[in-house]
């Protein structure tokens, strides 16, 4: 197995303790940092696909994401200034009145793993805060809005409307998700896309950003 394959395998199987050493040895072998990063991004794509197919479980996706994050830390000094694939910024949050964060965090992790810089606004985020964050980050092309309760779907509607009313639709695409959300509801409230899980969210975010 090549060093690059070892790194990919370690991300896929969530080898948190070994990843730093493996990434370092790949660097020592002369593999470009960018190439290592892209290999890890590719692996997270595979992880996302497996999750969509119910082949792996939530903690496995979580550990893979955390493993990649740790690997990226090793690469960071080398990546500064390098020509790195980046989709820009991705702003994410759970709508006002809703405190659920597991799904939102998984999406953030997968989107980050796909090559975005993630700005996580947290939970119980007022619509205005989304608007301000988008304005403050003109290089943000996609915003993710999460709602986990039927009772907070209304707050999602309000949030999407606030973004549209602020005239920000020319800058960002809006991606929504959460247990009660449907593609029909997403369309009805004026969102650009709905995805059912974190793996497909990362895939869709890339499409929306390019």
């Amino acid at each position: 197995m090549s060093k690059l394959q070892e790194v990919m395998k370690a991300v896929e199987t969530g080898k948190l303790k070994q990843i730093e050493e493996l990434v370092q040895s790949a660097i020592d072998e002369g593999i470009e940092a960018n190439e290592i990063l892209n290999a890890m991004i590719e692996t997270m794509g595979v992880i996302g696909d497996k999750f969509q197919r119910n082949e792996i479980f939530v903690p496995e996706m979580l550990v893979a994401g955390l493993t990649m994050k740790k690997g990226v830390e090793v690469l960071k000094p080398l990546l500064a200034g390098a020509n790195v694939t980046s989709y820009g910024k991705f702003i994410i949050g759970t709508v006002q009145g809703d405190l659920h964060d597991i799904g939102k965090n998984l999406v953030a992790l997968m989107v980050e793993s796909a090559g975005f810089e993630v700005i996580d606004l947290g939970v119980d985020v007022p619509a205005q805060k989304f608007v301000e964050a988008i304005k403050a980050n003109p290089d943000c092309k996609v915003v993710g809005v999460s709602a986990l309760l039927t009772t907070t779907m209304e707050a999602m509607k309000v949030t999407v409307k606030a973004i549209i009313d602020a005239g920000l639709k020319s800058q960002v695409k809006i991606l929504v998700g959460g247990a009660p959300i449907t593609p029909e509801f997403a369309e009805e409230i004026g969102a650009d896309a709905y995805t059912p899980d974190a793996g497909s969210a990362a895939q869709k975010a890339k499409e929306l950003a390019s």
């Binding site: 969530g14 479980f57 903690p59 496995e60 979580l62 550990v63």
Partner: protein, 268 residues
């Protein structure tokens, strides 16, 4: 959780018959299915009145032909335990000592200076003590003996013993209290249990056995002598370990599920 697989025991009628008929395939299969079910040790008890050492050697050889999982030598005769160690390719566990008769004086010298572990029951010549206090006294005497032979606490599997719940409503509470005190005194000592005694004489015994498992693990039990092919029990063990914070990211739980240790049985 350290699982000691209990299926190779001559006191189970089908196994007793297989031993009497020298049915090697049946024994090999019991070793195989327990190894596949993630047993950490395979208990080996001949339960015969004559030629026990020869019988136990026959069993050990069959287990070792089948799997690398180490053996837990189980005999009421301490000399048989000590003598059977030589048949084993790697260090296992001796089951068991207590303060009964000459057990400890026979077995501790035999395992001194080896990698072998040992189950120690907290009883003496007068049987199972009623109180936790008396069990702790026995525990302390056993630990003093262990120190004399330089046997480290992590090599010992203390069985605090359970009485039948149907005749003693405080049976589990005594077990739990004893376990907690022992873990405070010696955090590295293992606590184990044969556990099925708890449910004797009650209907749907598995309800009692599984509930006992969960509560006992919370009290500090980290080993059990059980049937690892019991999928419900194994699922409960992995789930409880995860709930108790012993399983980072539930990886053991997920891994055991993938290895088909519990969950819906595979479709043919």
């Amino acid at each position: 959780m350290i699982i000691i697989g209990e299926k190779i025991n001559g006191s189970i009628p089908s196994v007793g018959k297989a031993i009497a008929n020298r049915d090697a395939d049946l024994i090999r299969n019991l070793a195989k299915i327990q190894a596949e079910a993630n047993a950490d040790y395979i208990d080996c008890c001949a339960s015969v009145n004559v030629d026990e050492l020869e019988t136990i050697k026959w069993l050990i050889d069959l287990i070792q032909e089948t799997t690398d999982v180490p053996i837990c030598i189980d005999s009421p005769d301490p000399q048989v335990c000590a003598d059977a160690m030589q048949f084993c390719k790697k260090a296992g566990i001796v089951n068991s000592v207590s303060l009964e008769g000459n057990k400890i004086d026979t077995i501790f010298p035999a395992i001194a200076g080896t990698g072998w572990g040992c189950v120690a029951l907290l009883c003496d010549d007068s049987g199972i003590p009623k109180t936790s206090a008396r069990r702790i006294e026995i525990f302390k005497e056993i630990m003093a003996k262990a120190e004399e032979f330089d046997i480290a606490p992590e090599r010992l599997y203390i069985d605090p013993l359970v009485e039948t719940l149907g005749t003693n409503g405080k049976s589990f509470l005594t077990f739990a209290e004893t376990t907690k005190v022992i873990k405070e005194l010696y955090p590295n000592v293992h606590i184990t249990s044969g556990l099925s005694n708890i449910s004797f004489g009650l209907p749907v015994r598995k309800m009692i056995n599984m509930s006992f498992m969960v509560l006992a693990m919370q009290a500090g039990m980290d080993s059990a002598i059980v049937d690892p092919t019991n999928r419900d029990m194994m699922g409960i063990i992995y789930a409880t370990d995860a709930l108790l914070g012993n399983d980072d990211f539930c990886m053991e739980y997920i891994g055991a599920y993938r290895d088909n240790i519990f969950g819906p049985p595979p479709k043919d």
